[in-house]
Symmetry: C2
Subunit: 218 residues, 2 copies
Amino acid sequence: MTNGAKTRRRRSRQTILAAAETVFLKKGFIGASMDEVAEQAGMSKQTVYAHFNSKEALFREVVIAMTGGAAEALREDSDELLGDRLVGDFLMEVATDQLAVVLTPRLMQLRRMVIGEVERFPDLGVALYENGPGKSIARLAQAFAHYTCMGQLQTPDPQQAASFFNWILMGTPTNAAMLLGDAALPGREERYRHARESVRIFLCAYGTQHIAEGGAKE
Amino acid sequence: MTNGAKTRRRRSRQTILAAAETVFLKKGFIGASMDEVAEQAGMSKQTVYAHFNSKEALFREVVIAMTGGAAEALREDSDELLGDRLVGDFLMEVATDQLAVVLTPRLMQLRRMVIGEVERFPDLGVALYENGPGKSIARLAQAFAHYTCMGQLQTPDPQQAASFFNWILMGTPTNAAMLLGDAALPGREERYRHARESVRIFLCAYGTQHIAEGGAKE
C-alpha cells in the first residue's frame, strides 16, 4: 500500500468510527445498524465492512476509542501536575480535571450502554474498566507512592488508597448520572465543591499530620 | 371480590413477579417475552395480562419489588442497630450488612439492566435510585444527625456525609461488578476488610477527636 493509500484508509476509519459513535449513542447497540452507520459516514456499506467486519467489532472499537481519548487527556494533565506540588494542590487539580473530563453526557451514555451489554460482551466491560477507572487509579497509585516517599501521605497500599480516592470523588456523581440520566450531571461550581470535600476526606484519612491539618489549599 | 379470591389473586401476582424476575434477569428486557413469563409461571398468557397489561408494566414492578426487598432487609437491620452503640460499631455493622445484601449477582444484574435501559425507561432508574442508594443514604443521614448530637460525629451536612460514606463503601465493589461481571464480587473476608477501611476513612474525616483516634472497634 502506498503512503497516500494508507492515509486515506486511516481517514476513512476515523470517519466510520465517528459516525458509529453517533449512531450507537443514539440507538444503543441492538437498535443500531451498519446501514445507518454507512449513511451517517456518507460511505457505502461495503466500505464500512472493509474496515470492520461486524457490528460487534465496530462497537468494540468505538468503546476503546472513546475511553482511550478520555484517558489520554487525563494522563497528559496528570504528568504535568505532579512535579513538586504539595499533595493537596495536586489532588485538587486531578479531581477537578477528572470530574470535568469524565462527567459528560457522551461518556455517561457510553458507560450505560457498556454496562447494559456486559453479559453479552464481557470484554467491552473489561476495556472500559481498564481504560477508564483502571487507568485513573493506576496513575493515582503512582502519585501516592511518590507522596508517601515525600512524607506527605501515609499509604501502606497506594493502589487501595487510589481506588478509595477515585470513588470518594466519582461515586456520588457517576451513580446519579447512571440512574437519573444526564440531567443529574453537576455543573462547574458543584464539581468544585465536591472536589474540595473529596480531597479533604482523603487527606484526613491518608495525609501525614501536618498535611491533614493544612487540608487542601484554596 | 371475596377474601379467598383476593388471596388467590395476590398469590398469582407473586408467582408472575417471581417468574418475570427469572426471565428478565436471564434474557434482558428486550430479549424477554410475555410468553416465556407465562410458561415460567405455569400460567396462561391471558392470566399474565390480567395482572400486568404490558411487558413494560411488568418490568417496572419487578424492579420495584427487587429493590424494595433489599431496602426492607437493610432498614430492619439498621433500626435495630442504632440504639446507643458507638458510631464506629454502628458503621461497621451497617457496612458489612450493606455489602452482603447489595453485592449479589441478582441485584447487580438488575442494576446493569436498569442502567442499560435508563434512556428508554427513565422512571426505572429513578425507582432503583430511590429504593436503593437513596434509601441507604437517607437512613445514614438520620443516624449521622443523631451521632452529631451525641458528639461522636461532626457532620454539618449529614446528607452529604451519608452520600460520601455510601460511595466510599460501595464505589469500588459496585463499579467492578458493573464492568467486570459477577466474578468480581468480593467474598466475605474481603468485604470485611473493605468495610473496616471504609469506616476508618469516614471517621478520620467526620469523627470527633476521641472517636477518630479510637477508630472502629474490632
